[in-house]
């Protein structure tokens, strides 16, 4: 194989037997290639020296993995994995971590990621909190008679009380969602929520043939949470959240 002079971008690892690279443009519109010995392969593309557009690069990373996962099990790499050369990919990644990668591929085979996110109807939730929490209601009443500047710390205190109530609900609602859906999945990962009105962000690893059963569970959950929580149910995606492994690069023979 001819060795490109530049660095290579790595999208992920697949069980390569009988597979070809997906026909999709990678980063910088470079074709995606499959590198490696027969059993394990890495999806890569050559990086040019042109400046990289981050939004486009992220988009390409995503597109390649989505495409590849249509007909193969993929262990996605986290965005930003760049290696020196095809040789480095083979020795530093595929050979050095053959066992870990094979095990991951085995675990993820014929499974997909389905993601369930819950978002509180904020107004509904806040009304509920004011009504059920006397301390919040009192402080809120009092603050209405004070100027915004004068009440700065009281306002923080009020927000703190509200945030604590939101946290309680978050914990309880997350437990309930997991209890409902975990039995229908192979595994679950609770992901950090970043928005104040987020209830939960749950990634489930689900067998392809049981997606319909899982969807039924989501419908039930949706009924249970009613108007309080709006659900977003997304997938199937490559099992991004279940491919977590930190690998040492091994002996850097290529460096």
């Amino acid at each position: 194989m001819t060795q490109p002079a530049g660095k290579v971008y790595v999208y992920g690892v697949i069980g390569a037997s009988g597979k070809t690279a997906p026909q999709v443009e990678g980063i910088q519109a470079a074709p995606v290639r499959l590198v490696g010995p027969a059993e394990l392969g890495a999806l890569v593309s050559d990086l040019g020296t042109d400046a990289l557009s981050a939004p486009k690069a992220v988009r390409a990373h995503w597109r390649v993995l989505e495409e590849a996962s249509q007909d193969a099990t993929v262990v996605p790499a986290r965005f930003g994995m760049v290696m020196e050369s095809d040789d480095a990919v083979v020795t530093g990644l595929l050979e050095a971590h053959h066992e870990t990668l094979s095990a991951l591929l085995h675990d993820l085979a014929d499974k997909v990621q389905l993601t369930v996110k819950g978002t509180y109807d904020e107004e509904l939730m806040l009304r509920e909190i004011v009504q059920s929490t006397p301390a919040v209601a009192e402080l809120n009443e009092r603050l209405r008679t004070v100027s915004v500047e004068a009440a700065y710390y009281d306002r923080i205190r009020l927000g703190e009380l509200v945030a604590a109530e939101v946290d309680h609900r978050r914990v309880a609602d997350t437990v309930a969602a997991i209890a409902r859906l975990e039995p229908l999945a192979e595994a679950v990962r609770e992901q950090e929520v970043r928005e104040p009105s987020a209830a939960y962000d749950l990634a489930f690893l689900v067998r392809r043939e049981t997606i319909d059963d899982f969807s039924k569970g989501v419908r039930e959950l949706d009924r249970e949470v009613g108007d309080r929580i709006e659900l977003s149910y997304v997938g199937p995606s490559p099992a991004y959240s279940f491919a977590e492994a930190s690998l040492d690069e091994g002996s850097p023979a290529w460096a």
Binding site: L52, A57, R59, P76, A163, S215, Y233, P236, L247
Partner: protein
């Protein structure tokens, strides 16, 4: 069309993911090689840092306080509906009610030029483009 806001109470099946749905896991999860050669080209480092910004607590508290206060205002004056009220408040320079900085970073990535995918994103993109622009300006200076 089956989008995020299906009428209450009926989710038939998962909706295909757009980039916006998975941007966080793409940046956060997946295989990592220690000491891999980082993409050092401008943009990527900033992007991954931005996406990890967690909303400062005090900021969150103040926004909750503001939101709770606003509830009462709405109850007292029927003349102005909640949407209009929020519009005028956010236009006044205050932060909008629930979107955090992480959301801004997300929009910076997914709200890019081409539109070969995520239909679900177009709605929120048009709504928030001006906001994310002004926020990205101010977040650099802070």
């Amino acid at each position: 069309m089956a989008v995020a806001t299906t009428p209450r109470g009926y989710i038939e099946r998962p909706r295909p993911s757009g980039l916006a749905d998975v941007i966080e896991v793409i940046l956060d999860k997946g295989l990592v090689i220690d000491a891999f050669v980082r993409v050092s080209l401008i943009g990527i480092e900033i992007l991954t840092i931005d996406a990890r910004i967690v909303i400062a607590s005090v900021d969150t508290y103040l926004r909750f306080a503001e939101a709770v206060n606003r509830l009462d205002i709405v109850q007292d004056t029927d003349s102005q509906g909640l949407p209009e009220l929020m519009e005028s408040i956010t236009e006044g320079g205050a932060k909008s009610k629930v979107k955090g900085l992480a959301e801004g970073a997300k929009e910076a990535v997914t709200g890019d030029d081409d539109d070969d995918d995520d239909k679900s994103q177009s709605r929120s993109r048009s709504r928030s483009s001006s906001r994310s622009r002004s926020r990205s300006g101010s977040s650099k200076s802070s």
